[in-house]
């Protein structure tokens, strides 16, 4: 039986092949969900799916696309928002 703290499903299980040919069970933190567009809900590209501590060590330019609303809206929604703003 695993330790009681590992029996909860808040950790994910990873099977790792260890030296000696043995396969052991490792417990790791779950990854966060993919980033989504705030308007249409489409998956955002160019936004990595990494744990917060890994995101913190990344450069700003590696965390989101470099355009207005980058990392918040998808490119299509961003374009539509700009056009709507102009035509008003």
């Amino acid at each position: 039986m695993p330790a009681p703290r590992l029996r909860s499903r808040s950790l994910r299980k990873v099977f790792r092949k260890v030296s000696g040919g043995r396969v052991s069970l490792h417990y790791k933190k779950k990854k966060p969900k993919n980033a989504k567009c705030g308007n249409c809900g489409a998956l955002l590209k160019g936004v990595p799916r990494a744990l917060p501590f890994r995101m913190r060590s990344m450069a700003k330019t590696k965390k989101r696309p470099e355009r207005p609303f980058g990392g918040v809206l998808c490119s299509r929604c961003m374009r539509q928002a700009i056009i709507d703003n102009i035509r008003q």
């Binding site: 470099e66 355009r67 207005p68 490119s75 961003m78 374009r79 700009i82 056009i83 102009i86």
Partner: protein
Amino acid sequence: MIEIGRIVVKTAGRDAGCKAVIIDILDDKYVLVDGETRRRKCNILHIEPLNQIIKIGKNASHEEVAKAFDELGLKARLTKPKPKTARPRTKRKTPEQLRTQKEEKRKLRDIFKPRKKEEKQETKEATLEEKAGLAEGKEESKEVKPIEKKEHKKKETTKIKKS
């Protein structure tokens, strides 16, 4: 709608939302724009034309565009590259410079080191003398001490006798 002098807004890429002027029409697809954006070739589909038109020549330089934008109350993007700074390079010192450097070092040495040397020498000499003196003193003390003791003893004995 697409003509030279037409003010447009970019709707794609990192310059999205920035105003620019069409300077040149390269193709039925592409135009050259400049202004708040970078001076660049641009797809017509990635542009939203406005109602404004300004007077500007074909292939106008960035300075002309900046002037025209100033009149509109907009700020053109500075596309001039930074002036290149010379890379710092270490040069070999000439023999004269090396000589002066050595002299300075010697001066510094004269300020700090010789005192210590003198002190050390003095101490060394002193120690030697002391050693010699001690050696002599020890012999003398050996000779002197018993006499003193004898005197003390004599005194004590005299005191006892008096008491």
